[in-house]
Structure formats: C-alpha cells, structure tokens
C-alpha cells in the first residue's frame, strides 16, 4: 500500500467504534452519529469527515461521524429461512447495522431452515428477510474464517496468507488456483480436502439449551 502498488488507495481513517457508528447512522437514517472518540488525537486532521459537534445541553463537545450506506452488504450466518430471515449466534460484530444500512443484502448461510425454526426463537433473529435480497446456501462458506458451532478459524491459512500476500505475484498465483480455477465453493471445499475440513470441526458440542416462549391463545 505504501508503494501504491498496483494503484494508490484512497483511505478514510476511522476507529472501530467510528465504523460501528457510521453503520448505525446509515441503518437509522441519521445524518451523523456522535461518539466520544477522537478528541485530542490526529484522526480528525487525517480525516476531515470526523467533525466536532457541540452538545445542545451543557458545554461538552463530542465527535460525529457520517453515515455509511454500503451498496451491498454480505453477511455470513448459521441459518436463514427461504424468506431471508436470518439467525446468528456467537460474535455479531456490526453485521446487523451494516445490513440495515445497505442498499442490498446478501446472506450466506450454513443451513437453510424452515420458517418454523426461525419463528420458534424470534429473539435469535438478527436480520429480517424484509431487507434481504438473496440467500446463498453455502456450507463451509466462511472459510478461512469460522462459524460458531460449525467450524473453527483456520489459523493455518492466516499464517500462510502472510507470506502469500507479501507480493503481487504470489497473491495472483493463489487467486488463480483457489478462486478463478474452481467452479464454485463446493469445489473449493473439495480441494481443501476432507482431512483439513475435519480438523476444523469443534471438538465437542456446547448446546445453548432451549427456552419456552409459551402458547398464548
């Protein structure tokens, strides 16, 4: 990146909370989101879109970040129904906010489930089908990342990736072998090999247990 290779990248400097705030503003149709970060740092100098805003109550000033509305947000989840109602457990990051902020949403899931599975536990729903444009059923689709309860983070891959991504030629070679030359995800997973896939499975189950919503007629 420092070498502008292959091309200079345009950067907007934010912090993690700043990005969360930007997605939250985008999802909420707010013109800005306020947070206490950035004060007495060089970030507002590096990024003129981080701007001070004075509280209308008292003397305090906080910083505001602008809304972010992605053209497309792609999220990966454990399960969705055919209407796109999506449930996740484990770390949620800001996938929900990024989905609500986006123009279009693609949900990639490990498993397509019946609507009844979703409706049995409505508090577990993170993204409603209402905002989902496409559901892609792609088991093992998050590799080399992980899916809680389904498979582990492939730390091996991330270590290898450091060397692969160090120059353009090795990166291109990897892309050619693992992305452009495979017909789809199924072939990618096959190419990884059953042994590697098996090695990434959790060593045991950790069931959440079931709660009762009750029937109210």
């Amino acid at each position: 990146m420092e070498d502008a290779d292959p091309a200079p990248l345009e950067l907007e400097e934010y912090s993690h909370f700043g990005m969360v705030g930007r997605y939250t503003a985008g999802a909420s149709n707010l013109p800005f989101f306020p947070l206490r970060s950035y004060f007495e740092t060089d970030l507002p100098k590096a990024n003129p879109l981080i701007r001070p805003i004075r509280s209308p109550f008292g003397e305090e000033t906080v910083y505001a970040v602008p809304p972010l509305k992605p053209d497309v947000t792609i999220v990966h989840a454990q399960r969705a129904d055919a209407d796109g109602n999506t449930q996740m457990w484990g770390l949620l990051g800001c996938q929900k906010e990024a989905a609500f902020a986006a123009e279009r949403v693609i949900v990639v899931v490990e498993e397509l489930v019946d609507e009844a599975v979703i409706r049995a536990d409505p508090n577990r729903t993170v993204i409603p089908g209402l905002i989902v444009d496409a559901v892609v059923v792609e088991p093992f689709g998050a590799h080399p990342s992980y899916v809680q309860g389904a498979y582990d983070r492939d730390n091996h891959f991330y270590r290898d990736w450091e060397a692969i991504s160090r120059d353009a030629a090795t990166t291109a070679a990897w892309l050619d072998e693992w992305v452009y030359s495979v017909s789809g995800r199924a072939e990618y997973v096959e190419k990884l090999g059953a042994e590697r896939v098996a090695s990434l499975r959790p060593s045991g189950q950790a069931p959440s247990g079931s709660v009762d919503y009750g029937v109210y007629k």
């Binding site: 149709n29 013109p31 729903t125 209402l130 444009d133 496409a134 559901v135 109210y216």
Partner: protein, 309 residues
C-alpha cells in the same frame, strides 16, 4: 426488497433451495382468555332509516373499512387502540402476508388472539423477530422500512395533523391524554400514515390543541418541502377511516371524503367535523362488512366488544 433469491452451490444454476413459503404458522385461534367481558356491543347500529344499513355497528364498519385499506401493503406499524384490531383483521382477510410491527419490539407478529396491549406475550410467540425498542425505532421505523404507520388520534385537522397529547391549553389542560407514545415518530418516518378514529366536532377540528404528529402541516407544498429538506423518508398521511366514511388526501394536502359508509349521510359527516369537508365526485359508498368480516370481529378478535362497544 422483494422475495430474496435463494441459491445453493450444490445445485448451481438450478432452481435453488426449497421454495419460499409464505404461510404463517400458528394462525389465530379463538380468543378466550378474557371470558367475562362487558358483554355484547351496545353501540348504535347504522342509521335504521337507511335501507343499506345491515346488522352491523358503526364501529364494526370503521374497523372493516380500515382493514381493507391495508390490501397490498407489506409492513405495518401497529398503533395502540383501534389500529390494533383493524390491522389484525386485515391480516386475517385482505393482507395475509402483512408484517405486523409492534413498537414494543416485535416484527412479523402472528398473534394467536387479539393482543389487548402492545406489551402482550401473544405478539412474540411465533413472530419473525423480536428486537429492542432502540433497534425497532432506529432501524425499522426511522430507517424507512415501515410502509404504513397506523395511528389512532384524539384530534385531527383537515391536513392530517394529529393531537394525542392534551385537550385544551398545554399548561392547564382540560384533559390530559396519553401523549405521543410512538405516534410522533411514526407520523414522521413511516412511508405513509393511516388514521382510524371516530369523528365528532371534538375530534375533527379546525385547529388541533397540540400537534403531536405532523401531517401535511399547513398544506401539501410546505409539507413536501420540509420532508425533503429534513431528509424524512415518509410522505405523510394518506388515509383516514372513521365511523362515517373514508378520507384520502387531495393534491393540496387536505382530507377529502372518498367513500361514505352505508347508513351514514353527508349531513352527519358535516355535523361531525369542524370544517366544511371536501367531497369526491363521484362519492363512493363503502361496501358493508361481509358476514365473514363480522364473524372474525365478533367471534375471534373482539368477543368481549372491547373495541366495538
């Protein structure tokens, strides 16, 4: 935001995963948890002098007419009170796939009985999603995902501005009403607003005592400008249903009587509002409630007559 496409790499280019099913599970069943209500409705039936008047009350006609307006809508934010029964009737009749949103946090609710409050466990069981009020108001409502915000009101003016805060002066009110609840933000953020209320000289007024929810302000032009300038996603009120008729809004942003309920007269309409109403030509007559609509209200949704008395 149409039906999502479902694809799977195991059937590339194929017909995709299992087909989408729209049928809501756990459909409503007969309500019976509150058996000792005040008994059958005691409201006045439609004007007995008019031959069209069937055996239904004005409140029933109002609820039925309001429900029918929801045909073709996808997402409805359900206000407290009369909207609740109208929206649930719509889900059982003209709008079976309507997604019900309750501000307490339920989306895609499929209440197995008519909830008597927005905080009722029957709107949770079987719902599509249950979220915090922060998320519901921020992402669903203010984010622009609600097609229709359905409100009740104490007072309304010709431009659809609504009061649900006080009758009389704010500092020394004659009657203190419940206040905004979510009505203020529903009116601003829902793509369009439907209102259901009984009309009278006290409720259909030339000047509301307090503006809780903006409608078309002083007229369509001013309202459109403010909405554009302020980045609101909603376009304001579009339907008002009363116990006497159905109003839409004309190009000047003013309410116009589109349909009069069977049994009601234009004189009754005029006597129960604080301004000279605009009337569509030709003025339609609202089709009377069907036996099925009446059965749903009387036997299933409101056997105790809480809404129709």
């Amino acid at each position: 935001m149409n039906k999502p496409r479902v694809s799977s790499s195991s059937t590339p280019g194929g017909p995709g995963g299992p087909g989408a099913s729209n049928s809501a599970p756990g459909g409503p069943a007969a309500s019976s948890s509150t058996p000792s209500g005040p008994g059958a409705s005691s409201s006045t039936p439609g004007d007995p002098g008019a031959p069209e008047a069937a055996a239904f009350t004005r409140s029933e006609m109002m609820i039925v007419a309001a429900a029918r307006e929801l045909a073709g809508q996808r997402v409805c934010f359900v206000g407290v009170g009369l909207p609740n029964i109208a929206v649930n009737l719509a889900r059982l009749t003209v709008a079976p796939t309507l997604e019900l949103v309750y501000e307490s946090g339920a989306f895609g609710a499929v209440p197995a009985r008519l909830p008597l409050s927005i905080g009722d466990p029957t709107i949770v069981t079987g719902a599509t999603a249950v979220v915090s009020m922060f998320e519901l108001f921020s992402f669903y409502l203010q984010g622009g995902l609600v097609d229709v915000g359905f409100l009740g009101a104490a007072q309304i003016d010709r431009f659809g501005n609504i009061n649900s805060t006080v009758i009389g002066d704010y500092e020394h009110p004659k009657t203190r009403l419940p206040g905004s609840g979510g009505a203020c933000e529903i009116a601003i953020n829902a793509r369009q607003v439907f209102v259901i209320m009984r009309q009278s000289k006290r409720s259909f007024v030339d000047r509301i005592d307090f503006r809780t929810s903006p409608g078309n302000l002083g007229g369509a032009e001013a309202a459109a400008r403010i909405r554009r300038e302020q980045g609101w996603l909603g376009s304001g009120p579009s339907v008002v249903v009363t116990d006497l008729g159905i109003y839409h809004f004309d190009e000047s942003g003013e309410m116009r009587l589109e349909s009069i309920h069977p049994g009601a007269t234009l004189d009754q309409i005029r006597e129960t509002m604080g301004w000279e109403p605009k009337v569509a030509e030709p003025l339609e007559t609202t089709p009377a409630p069907t036996p099925e609509e009446l059965r749903l209200i009387r036997q299933q949704l409101d056997p105790d007559g809480a809404y129709t008395k």
